[in-house]
């Protein structure tokens, strides 16, 4: 869930021209909120039909996230809970709490171009990647820093990434993830930036698995609330059954 979340970056302004490290830090800092509550739509373009899945998520810092699916009818009531590096899902039809682990983490989430693993990824990229400024480019009519990120540890899912950071709002407008070989695997594009909850937020995001032919998965943030009080019981397995 987090990789989506770090795109919901609020905007701070910095005066000086920062290093890659600093830019990344700012992006991370800006994305950070004690809590977030947001509703979103995921548009999955399949070979046969296009589906829109609506969900509401409660997120506490980096540790925990809880999502409830609201629509369509089939998915309504499905819940997901992420605590640290564990993921559970609950479906009302079965009244079962199922741990998603191992092989299943690599499956696509609701038929989208994102895997559970993609969603589980830790948001704090500054801890995991070294950043280098590669230049400037214009994305969505905004001047952006182009940062090349290379993984500090060997166990990162992507050894390198490229991010385009808005020079003014310090929001990531585009991201590419690369294989060890340097081959481009996935691309995330921000299609629009909106002001929500008093911050600048990526309102419409397009994810694409570039090895596959397909139109990708669109993610639309409908509303977001920052630093609201979320009771702790939300982030418990018991709340999955509620």
């Amino acid at each position: 869930m987090k990789s989506l979340l770090f795109l919901l970056v609020p905007v701070f302004a910095f005066a000086q021209v920062p290093s890659g490290e600093e830019i990344l830090k700012k992006v991370d800092e800006n994305s950070w909120a004690k809590t977030r509550i947001f509703t979103s739509k995921m548009i999955v373009q399949g070979r046969r039909a296009t589906r829109t899945i609506t969900s509401k998520s409660w997120v506490k810092g980096d540790e925990a996230a809880f999502t409830e699916y609201l629509a369509p009818a089939r998915e309504k009531g499905i819940k997901m809970l992420k605590m640290e590096d564990q993921l559970w899902t609950y479906s009302p039809q079965t009244d079962r709490i199922i741990r998603i682990s191992g092989h299943m983490l690599r499956q696509s989430v609701m038929g989208s171009d994102l895997s559970y693993e993609d969603m589980m990824e830790d948001a704090e990229i500054v801890k995991k990647y070294d950043a280098k400024v590669e230049g400037s480019e214009v994305v969505l009519d905004c001047e952006c820093w182009v940062l090349l990120l290379s993984a500090k540890d060997k166990d990162a899912a992507y050894q390198s990434r490229k991010v385009w950071v808005d020079k003014e709002r310090y929001i990531i407008l585009k991201e590419e993830r690369y294989a060890k070989s340097g081959k481009l695997l996935k691309r995330t594009e921000i299609l629009s930036v909106r002001r929500m909850g008093g911050r600048w937020v990526a309102g419409e995001i397009l994810f694409r698995d570039l090895l596959k032919s397909g139109k990708g998965t669109k993610f639309i943030i409908e509303s977001v609330e920052y630093n609201a009080d979320i009771p702790d019981y939300i982030f418990s397995k018991a709340s999955l059954r509620k």
């Binding site: 499905i78 899902t89 079962r96 741990r99 038929g111």
Partner: protein, 424 residues
């Protein structure tokens, strides 16, 4: 004269009984052998047909291209009307729909949380309907190790090895996690009604059989199926018919541009089975030829012996002044009658044995201890159309030929010798 000859045949056992018995036995064996070879041919294909290919199979074009991946998202939709159409258009066939899917089977602990998980290969078939042809095709009742057959909605069977791995017993509830036709996650509870052993390593590792209506609901494919299998009512694969059927169906129903338009493939158009069929067909013809040749010689010999046995009788008849030509012709006629009669009985007997073995078969499980692969464990004969007449060929011709050759001896007999021979 024919009446006279027949009377003679009927009244003299050595003239009739023995030769007829020989012809009968020979023809019975040949008819049976032909049916058996046909059966072996069918046996070899029946496992493939029942488990995977059908005699014909309908899929969407997109599914057919990737069928190895079991892509439920490319499945057929509107199968109810398609099935109705098929049943109306091809009344000589049995049609059945299946869904093949991959997923995860999750076993809960007491609190309903995950205790064990395993990947599962699912087969959804019409199993709750007692009249479903699938019971015969997959022989599930026979394969049950523990528990019972599914009797109500959301009952399922899983393979015994898999059940042991997941520590699941009949009666336990498990959750199937799969992906719907539209890619959404689907979770559905099933009750393990029983466990089965297929004897195919790949399936025994993790297979689940459930009723198709339940799986349609689970995978959000209402009125949809991965494939529709068609079987000839005699459960025998007829090559030309099947290929022809597929061709006709595709001309009418397949849209070359529509990736979801249905396409029909005959058994031999799948998995490279045509080559296999050709090979088996070739071997069968060789075997049948050998049989017919062998039997012809046997009956030819029997014909020769028949006349030798009647040496004395022929002598008397010649001595009494019967013309050699007349005698020879009567011998030929008798041989012909014996041939026809023996072949008739032989064909009937051969067919009876073959029909019996077509329906009951020989159970060979005792020969195959600890079999690990899917094999037809009952060997059956198959009565082919040629079995009805092919026995007559050697049965009549060879007997006739034998009599004709040995009968020539009649002309060599010298009247002067006859009485000397008849003295004793």
């Amino acid at each position: 004269m024919i009446k006279f000859l027949i009377k003679g045949l009927l009244r003299d056992r050595s003239k009739s009984l023995f030769p007829v018995l020989t012809v009968t036995a020979g023809v019975t064996l040949v008819v049976f052998a032909i049916c058996w070879v046909g059966g072996v041919q069918t046996n070899m294909m029946s496992a493939s047909a029942h488990f995977r290919t059908g005699h014909v199979k309908i899929m969407t074009r997109a599914y057919a291209e990737q069928s190895d991946l079991l892509p439920v998202d490319l499945a057929l939709v509107g199968t109810d009307s398609l099935l109705g159409h098929l049943k109306a258009s091809y009344p000589g066939m049995i049609w059945t729909q299946r869904i093949l899917f991959a997923g995860l089977l999750d076993v809960p602990d007491e609190s309903g949380e995950t205790r064990e998980q395993g990947t599962v290969a699912g087969i959804a078939i019409s199993v709750l309907d007692p009249g479903s042809p699938e019971h015969k095709f997959l022989e599930m009742e026979k394969s049950i190790v523990r528990g019972r057959m599914p009797q109500k909605s959301y009952d399922c069977l899983i393979s015994e090895t898999f059940a042991q791995k997941l520590k699941v017993n009949p009666g336990d509830e498990v959750t199937l996690i799969g992906s719907t036709m539209f890619g959404a996650m689907s979770m559905t509870n099933f009750t393990v009604a029983g466990t089965v052993r297929f004897g195919i390593s790949a399936l025994d590792r993790g297979a689940l059989i459930a009723d198709i209506t339940d799986v349609q609901t689970a995978l959000d494919m209402d009125n949809g199926a991965s494939e529709i299998l068609g079987f000839f009512t005699d459960d025998i694969y007829h090559r030309e018919k099947a290929v022809d059927l597929a061709e006709q169906f595709n001309i009418k129903n397949t849209d070359p541009d529509g990736e979801f338009s249905p396409v029909m493939l005959a058994l031999e158009q799948q998995e490279g089975l045509a080559g296999m069929l050709d090979m088996v067909g070739m071997m069968s013809s060789v075997i049948i030829t050998i049989f017919i040749v062998v039997m012809s010689i046997v009956l030819w010999n029997a014909g020769l012996m028949g006349n030798i046995r009647r040496y004395g009788e022929i002598g008397v008849r010649l001595a009494m002044g019967e013309a050699k030509g007349h005698l020879y012709r009567s011998l030929l006629l008798e041989a012909f009658a014996i041939g026809i009669f023996g072949s008739l009985i032989g064909t009937v007997l051969g067919l009876i044995v073959s029909f019996y073995l077509q329906y009951h078969g020989i159970d060979i499980t005792s020969f195959l201890k600890d079999s690990t692969i899917m094999l037809p464990d009952v060997m059956r004969a198959r009565v082919t159309s040629s079995a009805y007449f092919i026995g007559f060929l050697p049965g009549v011709c060879a007997t006739f030929l034998g009599a004709a050759i040995s009968g020539i001896g009649v002309y060599k007999r010298q009247t002067s010798q006859l009485f000397k021979e008849l003295e004793v």
